[in-house]
Symmetry: C2
Subunit: 356 residues, 2 copies
């Protein structure tokens, strides 16, 4: 049997670090290519990044040399003079909330399609940690995308002063943001509950510093009375299963026959807590969540919920970021009008006729 580990002595003559490659060749540079192709390094740089600037014949020769040396551009070396890193920072409130999966996927695929890389950080629902993470990511990226940020408006504006920034699920004055239209989904949800005979509704609210939480509540508050319904806020609570479960006593005490919860996690938590207490869902209590996360159709009954086009939101956010970056680079403001990001009610089993 052969030992994979060879003696490290040969490496001792190498410079400071093994740079680039660990064992293999020390990674080709444009200087190596230049030597091989018999031209100046700057010509190589141009051939590789400014197609057309160089004579076709020469360009070919350079490309051939690059291929032969298995050249890959050093992103750091390029970033230093240009200031462009070709990467985006994505800051999430809580990685384990399935809501983020689709946002991340949408963002990742849009980014990698444009040759951008995603740097990821999570704040675990803490604004301090989020600020720290933003601080850490900021110098290494071209732009920052904040998903469901827990930062204050002021902090966000300050951050946007350093780097192009896009917020998701939030509106901050002067900051580009991607927010789905919550109106349609909420309208449908209320209409649905109304048709089932519910007149006393509750809103199980999430984190106070969540913009989306306030937006949903505001929308409900505005629309419910017009439909002849009463509505009360129950919360705030943590946007988790436990957070939802914890509101059960208050929900019961409030006398409402249906609730909308800030998100699916809370809705499911509440539903399970209710069932454990012998409260039938939807027999005694109808529950509607928000987002339509993974697993919301696993429950029994399956959760009725207001679906948010999470993947599309992630995609749109990075495309918007690309536009901002292009504009910064001098391109025309091409901000194209895209299809709307609309929410819609998905009726499943957790809503039923009001018990009276």
């Amino acid at each position: 049997m052969i030992e994979a580990d060879s003696t490290p002595d040969a490496e001792s003559t190498l410079p400071v670090s093994t740079r680039g490659a660990r064992r293999g060749r020390p990674a080709a540079t444009i200087y190596d290519i230049a030597k091989l192709a018999g031209v100046n390094p700057s010509t190589v740089s141009r051939a590789l990044s400014k197609p057309g600037r160089i004579n076709v014949k020469t360009e070919e020769r350079i490309h051939a040399a690059a291929k032969e040396l298995n050249y890959r551009l050093n992103p750091m070396a390029r970033a230093l003079p240009t200031g462009r890193t070709n990467s985006l920072g994505l800051l999430l409130a809580d990685i384990t909330n399935p809501m983020f999966f689709n946002v991340v996927r949408g963002a990742e695929s849009a980014a990698s399609k444009r040759g951008y890389t995603l740097l990821l950080a999570e704040s675990q629902e803490s604004s301090e940690r989020e600020a720290a993470a933003a601080e850490r990511l900021s110098p290494s990226v071209d732009g920052l995308v904040l998903v469901t940020s827990r930062l204050s408006d002021e902090e966000i504006v300050e951050l946007a002063d350093q780097r192009p920034l896009v917020v998701i699920n939030r509106k901050v004055h002067g900051i580009p943001g991607i927010v789905p239209e919550i109106g349609p989904g909420i309208e449908q949800a209320l209409a649905h509950l109304g048709a089932l005979g519910h007149t006393a509704i509750g809103f199980v609210s999430g984190p106070v510093n969540s913009w989306m939480n306030r937006a949903r509540w505001a929308e409900l508050l505005e629309r419910a009375p017009a439909l002849g319904m009463t509505i009360v806020e129950i919360g705030p609570g943590k946007p988790t299963l436990d957070g939802g479960a914890a509101t059960l006593a208050r929900v019961v005490a409030s006398g409402v026959t249906a609730v909308l919860a800030y998100n699916d996690l809370m809705a499911i938590g509440l539903m399970r807590a209710a069932q454990e207490s012998g409260i039938d869902v939807p027999g005694k209590l109808s529950i509607i969540g928000f987002d339509d996360i993974f697993g919301s159709d696993f429950t029994s009954p399956q959760l009725s919920t207001v679906r948010t086009p999470l993947g599309a939101i992630g995609d749109r956010a990075v495309r918007l970021m690309m536009q901002l970056l292009d504009e910064d680079a001098g391109a025309p403001p091409h901000r194209d009008a895209e299809v709307a990001l609309v929410t819609e009610l998905v009726v499943r089993g957790s809503t039923g006729p009001a018990a009276h």
Copy 2:
């Protein structure tokens, strides 16, 4: 005659890009600090990164100046000469598989604790895309972590030749890897099924190029006969809800009374398909999944599953990577023996007495 190069605006005097900051100051450098503190830039560099190398008094002065200018180090500028980027690449097979959430969280928190940043990419279960993503990430990171890689052993070895690399859920000769002990969980699962009277077992298998899929199957194959059980492989299939559902006909046809599925997603997919076909779970068919992902306790019945310590695995993987990097930098091989990553059966509702 007008100068060919008539100045469009004040910006033309600026360097290439607006570098660093968008609106705010152009971001302080060690040169600014040096000027302010009245020392040489190299002294600033040392004061900031080699504590003790510089006179305490001077160091203080420099730190004060740095703080005053709100200095932050430019990661790219540091990475260029040192080759160290202080970031790790994390490559996932499928972001939307909840299995990865906890791995990512574990990895992210371990990384950010050590001042490292995570670069994320997903391969969407495609080995070509995975190779491309690895290629793209590789030059910008100090190390690569492959989670449930779909690459061939050869490709992985080749990748490891360029960068320190750690694989999760896989063993490749000569490549450091983090793999949970699947033995205990499987032993418990089989014992559990045996106690319930099951003698004909099925394994709903996942992707052929998944090492973990083969490992689980091999373990089952070895242990089942010794327990007086027959076992058959049903698959391969995609590691998704649909992939699991698609195996229903074959599961039924095989005559087994219990199955273990490659992962929870397939298990849940199969369970739902079975229920839709009027097959009672666990009355007619017992089902056990793997991993204990988010949502596996949402189903009805809740899924019995072999839990994998996913968060701990992510954490361990980046800590192992840190050790590799430290060693590369000349530190002693300190590879400490950690607590084992053991799997265990979580008995819930999807398993019951064999119907015969």
